[in-house]
Amino acid sequence: MPRSSFARTALLAAFLEDPTEPAYGLDLAKRADLASGTIYPLLARMEGDGWVTSEWEDTDPVDAGRPRRRYYRLTPDGARAARAELTAAQRRIGMVNPNAIGGLA
């Protein structure tokens, strides 16, 4: 299992708020309460580990009037691993309540 950190745990928790809902980087940073610069290396690592996939939104930048966003989503393996990592993190800090993690039970 990859080395955990506060930022990583926060990001995983943000992902697990709605594991099926794709989100773009800045949105994830806000949800995880992380500095904007921190989010991209974390996402790159998770993508490299196969926990996360990303894809461009299906829109024309000209029609939308803004650049395309890159949306990230947990893979099924990533979601399972993320729940396990969050549970472990909660146990480490003495918050043994696995049911608090969405979809774990």
Partner: protein, 210 residues
């Protein structure tokens, strides 16, 4: 009387100073607000340039989209600065995740020739380990393939005569970026004759890019 005049002068000086400072702060903040969008764009471009070539376009577009969501010029500039600061870390993660292009090649029958490489961000300690007495530059190295090649193992031939064999991913894990271009051409190991490289510019489908 004199004391009263001096006191009045001091009060007036204080008022004028406060007024001037207020104007200066206003001017500076207006200037920052005016310049911040441009600085933010410049910072994001600079951040993209810190990434490997294969990641630049993707992240430049992704960051531009995220920047577009942020309200306020100063907040945008702050975002761009944070991205720039984290670009080095992102580059490391990106390189770690990418399979080596050279690892997918059949190196037993072909040989890398006439490769130009660029070595960046080699700290002084690493330079000593590599046998250099100074910070390496692109002119210090050529990349070749050892006679008994293994996947992803490259030979670094320094212009000052030292030859080192290195594993590409080891170099990347140390924060050394090696990229280059060249041609893979049939090479007759029996005669040992190396073909000449005919290209003057990187091919569109360069096989060895980081």
């Amino acid at each position: 009387m004199t004391t009263n005049v001096l006191g009045l002068v001091a009060v007036l000086t204080g008022i004028i100073t406060a007024w001037l400072v207020g104007i200066a702060i206003n001017l500076v903040s207006e200037q920052i607000s005016t310049m911040a969008p441009r600085w933010a764009t410049i910072s994001l471009h600079a951040a993209a340039r810190r990434l490997p070539a294969s990641a630049r376009d993707r992240y430049a577009e992704e960051w531009a989209a995220d920047l577009d969501v942020i309200d306020g010029p100063v907040a945008r500039l702050w975002f761009a600065c944070r991205v720039w600061i984290s670009a080095r870390s992102l580059r490391r993660e990106w390189l770690r995740a990418q399979p080596s292009a050279i690892a997918t090649l059949d190196l037993r029958r072909r040989r890398l020739v006439s490769v130009t490489v660029k070595v960046e961000d080699v700290d002084a300690a690493e330079a000593v380990l590599l046998g250099l007495g100074h910070r390496p530059t692109r002119f210090d190295l050529s990349v070749g393939q050892p006679d008994s090649p293994t996947v992803d193992r490259i030979q670094l031939d320094f212009t000052h005569g030292v030859t080192k064999t290195a594993v590409l991913n080891d170099l990347h894990s140390k924060g050394i970026e090696v990229w280059g271009w060249g041609e893979l051409v049939p090479w007759d190991r029996a005669t040992g004759v190396e073909p000449e490289c005919s290209r003057a510019e990187p091919p569109d489908d360069w096989f060895f890019g980081r």
